[in-house]
Symmetry: C2
Subunit: 228 residues, 2 copies
Amino acid sequence: MHDTDLAAVGALIGDPSRARMLDALMGGRALAAGELATIAGIGASTASEHLARLREGGLVDVVAQGRHRYYRIAGPDVGAALEALSHVAPPRPVRSLRQAGHAQALAFARTCYDHLAGVCGVALHDALLAHDWLTPAYDVTPVGAAGLAGWGVDVAAARAGRRSFARPCLDWTERRPHLAGSLAAGITDGLVRRGWFVRRAVDSRALLLTDAGRAGLAELGADLGSSA
Amino acid sequence: MHDTDLAAVGALIGDPSRARMLDALMGGRALAAGELATIAGIGASTASEHLARLREGGLVDVVAQGRHRYYRIAGPDVGAALEALSHVAPPRPVRSLRQAGHAQALAFARTCYDHLAGVCGVALHDALLAHDWLTPAYDVTPVGAAGLAGWGVDVAAARAGRRSFARPCLDWTERRPHLAGSLAAGITDGLVRRGWFVRRAVDSRALLLTDAGRAGLAELGADLGSSA
DNA sequence: GGGACGCTTCGGCGCGGGACGAAGCGTGCG
DNA sequence: CGCACGCTTCGTCCCGCGCCGAAGCGTCCC
């Protein structure tokens, strides 16, 4: 009757503890089983069972290193699916001041799977187009290639692989597009390595814009609005 | 701690009965509650409860018409999410001859949410690029615009809206790209209206290639392989 | 207006699966 | 070499939820 087992993946993502783990892993980094247990707020044994099921379902990969076992999102397909899902997921009601502060941080700069989103993500997207680093069809111009190389971004590597190269992705806080795709992942990686952003916490997708980053974005003419 | 409630959507999709309903609705047409109950193989009351939850979760829309209530996928975002999910979902083991036949039909021509996929989808994708109806960046050429207009496809309408216009989407049976996006939806709609394809059954995403469609694809030089 | 039909709401049953703690296994540090 | 640590496996409990049948509400047909 059917081709793929939608319900199986859905059920995997549908458990609150597993969803929290996956959300944490969407930060892009591999996390140890113990960290994930803490993040999900459950015991180590329970977390282990969940992770085993996620692994069996092909949603996460595991790499053993010493006495730790690091889990990460299995691949771009999985990341894309979770990203798409989070776009239709209902916004979670804010319950505390601490959460409100966190929500504000997320709205300003965060990772969307593995690329930059939020106010900063949209501003970068707009600036890249305004400076003709990207064409309206989201291809890299010669000027853009030079600029990106200066940021340490490997455009050729981003072009390899079957993942979509660059495309707009509607930002759920800004309601305007930010840049997605392998190029966006490369750029985000480059900017973090250049110290424009630092990751706030292990279990969070929030990014902190550094002074260097603020200067760099200003030089690009990126508009961070009043929150700058 | 989190922005959206991933687990809520996941749990909605994670139930086998609901997943079957959603899968059926991915055919693109609105279906009545009773039809969906039959498709899912459950009682009317149970189906009604499931549909209420899907509606509450924003995954489906309902439109009352006489004493029927027709349900459909709530929007392109939801369709995209389900599509992305089905790409990571494990292939379901084939259990019967009837299912094997159905799987073969799906592999030849089916809808992927609302656009053409399978052997025919990949062939169309390749032909559009080979004839320069589409650029490698997936924009429509003047030649393509004329040709598509001849098929009754409204390219301007496809360009409107915030949904992605045209992009490759990896076909899970062919392991090569077919065309996705609003343009692909418009083309598929046009081809069905021109009688190149007919929808096989209510609960199926399978399409039947008609003689007219076979002739049309042949004229395009589309390669359907040995299964033609 | 009456009856058939389509759908939803409600009450109750039963099972799947998520939780924990204890125990087992492998790795690394002192 | 032995203990501490990280992770997994196993046994057990129990809550949540998917299922159905009965009843209620609205719509269409005769």
